[in-house]
């Protein structure tokens, strides 16, 4: 089975759960012996300068390939593009400007060298045309590839998926990790919605990461039920294997929020609940790890609630820092307003941190050994936070059962289920 896969992000270039999911899924497919060509838009960005050199994108239409040693059957293609997951058109524009500015700084403000690397002409100024440019480049790339199915992850790659499927005559799977309704509530961006809707309707199969999302696809996008399949995400286990046995000696309990600080993730409910907890408990700190468009608002809110000294903002964390913060945390809270899946709680459990998750999440469908709350119910969130901090037997039971439960959620099963879906599509009706 050969899969032509279109994604947005891949470790280490990640800003959220999508990259983690793509990595987990392709790794498991690789282990199952499936061949995957993974195409992702890669913006020339200075943060990972060494890696960028490695990629050395030439002209804008040539793609560059990289290979991960651990992934034998997965081939990567990156297309130079400013596409980043979780962007809005506004932030897209800002990102373009920032990149240009950074490039100029790196190259000593030499405009001529900067323009060699990148000029605003190379990048379309609005995200939508970028999405279609990515589609055109992906289709071009696909001409030289042989594959059985096209698998596109989230809306930015749907037009590319449609194009590649049309050129190649191969069936299209779109994989919905989140929808515009999750990201923006009721204030949906009509153009994004239209792209999502078209992708889902043109696809032969739609994969969602939960029944929660499946219901949205059926009710909000009018996709017929028999076309939508649920494939739960897995979790890559790495907890408990760390050689670093430092026990953090601390008087204060730490309650962790880890994720993008955006409307979707419910940061204000976290802070409101924190306020209620701090009304009755003193030795607690609340850590918000992540960045996002509500970060400043959240800092202000913490101050307004009078708990500023008890809330720490770490900014966006990656890799080892994530492990470190899990090691310190006594409890992880995910008060998401609308969470298609939510891999982070699984990682928390894998790191022996008990979790409180919102009922408005896909992960609450697969986790039994977690505390569940309605995201808006700050009283109940606080009630449960206090209980976990106050009663060690509760923490212990949640931790041990939860850690065990997480082991059953394997990417291998997700990959197997995808393979089954591919096979069903390829059988001539």
């Amino acid at each position: 089975m050969k899969v032509f896969m279109l994604g947005w992000e891949f470790p280490p270039f990640i800003s959220g759960g999508l990259g983690t999911a793509c990595y987990g899924l392709t790794r498991a497919m690789d282990q199952l012996g499936m061949e995957v060509t993974f195409v992702l838009p890669k913006m020339v960005e200075s943060k990972y300068a060494t890696h960028v050199k490695l990629l050395t994108p030439g002209s804008r239409t040539t793609s560059s390939s990289i290979k991960f040693n651990e992934l034998k059957n997965v081939k990567f293609h990156t297309l130079s593009s400013a596409l980043q997951p979780y962007t809005t058109p506004d932030s897209y524009e800002r990102r373009i400007e920032e990149t240009l500015r950074l490039k100029q700084e790196i190259h000593g403000g030499s405009i001529s060298s900067a323009s060699q690397l990148i000029t605003s002409k190379d990048y379309s100024n609005d995200m939508y045309s970028e999405v279609y440019r990515y589609a055109a480049m992906a289709a071009e790339l696909a001409e030289n590839e042989h594959f059985d199915v096209v698998h596109a992850h989230d809306w930015m790659t749907y037009p590319a998926g449609i194009a590649v499927a049309a050129f190649s005559g191969r069936p299209l799977v779109v994989h919905v990790h989140s929808t515009e309704f999750d990201r923006s509530g009721e204030h949906v961006n009509q153009m994004i919605y239209d792209i999502e809707r078209e992708g889902m309707h043109r696809a032969d199969k739609v994969i969602t990461v939960s029944h929660f999302t499946r219901n949205i696809i059926i009710s909000r996008y009018g996709v017929s039920e028999d076309k939508v399949e649920v494939v739960y995400n897995g979790v890559k286990r790495n907890g408990g294997w760390s050689s670093d046995e430092t026990v953090i000696d601390k008087d204060e309990k730490i309650v962790l929020f880890l994720g993008r600080i955006t409307m979707q993730k419910g940061p204000e409910y976290f802070l409101q609940a924190a306020k209620k907890v701090l009304d009755v408990m003193d030795n607690v700190k609340f850590v918000m790890a992540g960045s996002g468009d509500l970060m400043h608002r959240s800092i202000e809110l913490a101050a307004e609630l009078g708990i500023g000294q008890k809330v720490l903002f770490t900014g966006f964390l990656l890799g080892e820092d994530v492990q470190k913060i899990y090691k310190m945390a006594d409890l992880y809270v995910m008060p998401s307003v609308s969470e298609p899946f939510g891999i982070a709680p699984l990682e928390a459990l894998d790191n022996d941190v008990p979790v409180i998750i919102s009922k408005q999440s896909g992960v609450s469908e697969v986790l039994m050994h977690a505390l569940k709350v309605d995201f808006w119910d700050i009283n109940e969130i606080a009630n449960k936070v206090i209980a976990v901090l106050k009663y060690p037997p509760l923490q212990m039971t949640l931790r041990s059962h939860g850690n065990f439960e997480v082991r059953r959620l394997r990417w291998k099963d997700a990959a197997t289920k995808c393979a089954k879906i591919y096979e069903e599509m390829l059988v001539p009706v």
Binding site: V280, H369, L371, K372, A382, Y391, P392, L394, T397, L398
Partner: protein
């Protein structure tokens, strides 16, 4: 000539309301939910089953007999929410064919933690049964049929009982059959009646299971199985939850029709009869002594305590509950004592069971919580509040949020220190 001895367990706990750490009043129980569950079970089970059995008893003019153990917690709720059930029980008691057993009034696990409390609750139950049904029970059954040698010794020392009922677990009987009367090891007068779990569970659990090769179970088939005991036992003890009729097995499974026809099928064989537990021990001598050093129960396949005390939350909750016994009793406050005792019902700990939680099963029945964790949190919040009431420290003010941006107050020091638990073991 096997006698058939039916005993039905009749119980509903008083369920807690959703009680958060921010709640400050002493209204711990969900009157609405308890009332509606009580009325629902009354309509689906207690009333139709009582009427049916009353009818059968009258029809057989003294040849059909049964026994009940009705907990004090349920008696209180029936009086309040379904008095008509009380009058049908009363009518059953009047027939002279119905024996009422004694247990802990609050359906508690107190035997494991406080013998004083245990004995007080048994005496309270005896008084209640005597008050409502005019009988002083002579047979004791412990909550969930929990039993060991020590329990038998304690019950014998009370000098008011003739026998104990417990589970006929394979590992205590070995090659022996449950279909005889036994004697507890170390007891002189007390007898032991053991549940025939195979035949009991054919009715209680397997009756409507279509995957069971013996489905459908008919009255004549079942009476043949009972008659097969002839020559290899004196008594078939069929012990089960009363809610088997109409709740665990719905009416449309035919469970009521089965029960209506069973007596005449059993009695068709001239050697068979029905006996109450007291009649059984008067009729048959003890076949052997049974040694039960370790605790058994009637739950799950393990027949142990793991359904109530199997995880850290359960054992923490129950330890904390009994730890405050003295403080509770020192208050001499009936309301506080009553609330504390209602918290002792084994159901509260059963709800915290994580054993089969992921699979979802029989443990879910009547369970008001979404998860064992929710039930633990709720229970501990209530217990915490109750504890403070008996410290004379009426909660309220200390939970009020500090005004504005002022300093936050720590939890009051009188709260139980859950971080520092001495190793409190069940009393042996």
């Amino acid at each position: 000539m096997p006698s058939v001895c039916f005993y039905f367990q009749v119980h509903q706990p008083v369920r807690l309301r959703h009680y958060t750490v921010f709640d400050k009043n002493d209204q711990y129980f969900d009157d609405y939910k308890n009332g509606s569950i009580c009325r629902k079970v009354a309509n689906k089970c207690y009333l139709p089953a009582n009427r049916l059995l009353l009818d059968v008893i009258r029809r057989f003019e003294g040849r059909f007999k049964i026994a009940y153990s009705v907990t004090g917690l349920l008696l209180e709720q029936l009086q309040r929410y379904s008095p008509e059930v009380m009058s049908t029980f009363d009518a059953l008691a009047e027939t002279g064919c119905v024996e009422f057993l004694a247990e802990t009034y609050y359906h508690s696990l107190s035997f494991l933690y406080s013998h004083d409390e245990f004995v007080e609750q048994i005496n309270k139950h005896i008084e209640a049964i005597n008050y409502f049904f005019g009988q002083r029970p002579r047979i004791f059954r412990n909550t969930e049929l929990i039993y060991n040698n020590d329990l038998a010794a304690l019950i014998e020392s009370m000098k008011c009982f003739d026998a104990i009922i417990t589970e006929g677990a394979d590992h205590i009987l070995g090659y022996r059959s449950p279909n005889f009367v036994y004697q507890p090891k170390g007891c002189k007068n007390l007898k032991l009646l053991l549940k025939n779990y195979s035949l009991s569970d054919d009715i209680a659990f397997r009756f409507s299971n279509r995957d069971w090769p013996q489905w459908p179970l008919t009255a004549d088939k079942f009476s043949r199985w009972v008659s097969n005991v002839n020559g290899n036992g004196n008594v078939v003890n069929l012990f089960m939850d009363y809610e088997t009729f109409g709740e665990h097995q719905w009416e449309d499974t035919g469970i009521f029709d089965f029960m209506r026809h069973l007596p005449e099928e059993i009695l068709r064989h001239p050697d068979n009869d029905f006996k109450t537990p007291s009649e059984v021990i008067q009729s048959y001598g003890s076949a052997d002594t049974v040694d039960v050093p370790h605790i058994i129960s009637w739950a799950d396949t393990e027949r142990d305590l793991s359904a109530w005390l199997g995880n850290a939350m359960q054992s923490n909750a129950i330890h904390e509950l009994y730890r405050i016994e003295k403080k509770i009793k020192d208050t001499n406050n009936e309301k506080i004592l009553g609330d504390w005792r209602k918290l002792q019902a084994s159901d509260h700990f059963y709800y915290m069971c994580t054993k089969y939680f992921a699979d979802g099963d029989v443990h879910k029945y009547f369970n008001p919580y979404d998860s064992p964790y929710d039930s633990y949190i709720n229970f501990m919040n209530v217990l915490d509040h109750l504890h403070r009431r008996c410290s004379g420290q009426m909660p309220g003010d200390e939970f009020r949020p500090a005004p504005g941006n002022g300093p936050t107050e720590p939890l009051p020091g009188s709260a139980p220190d859950f971080n520092n638990l001495p190793d409190l073991q069940p009393v042996e």
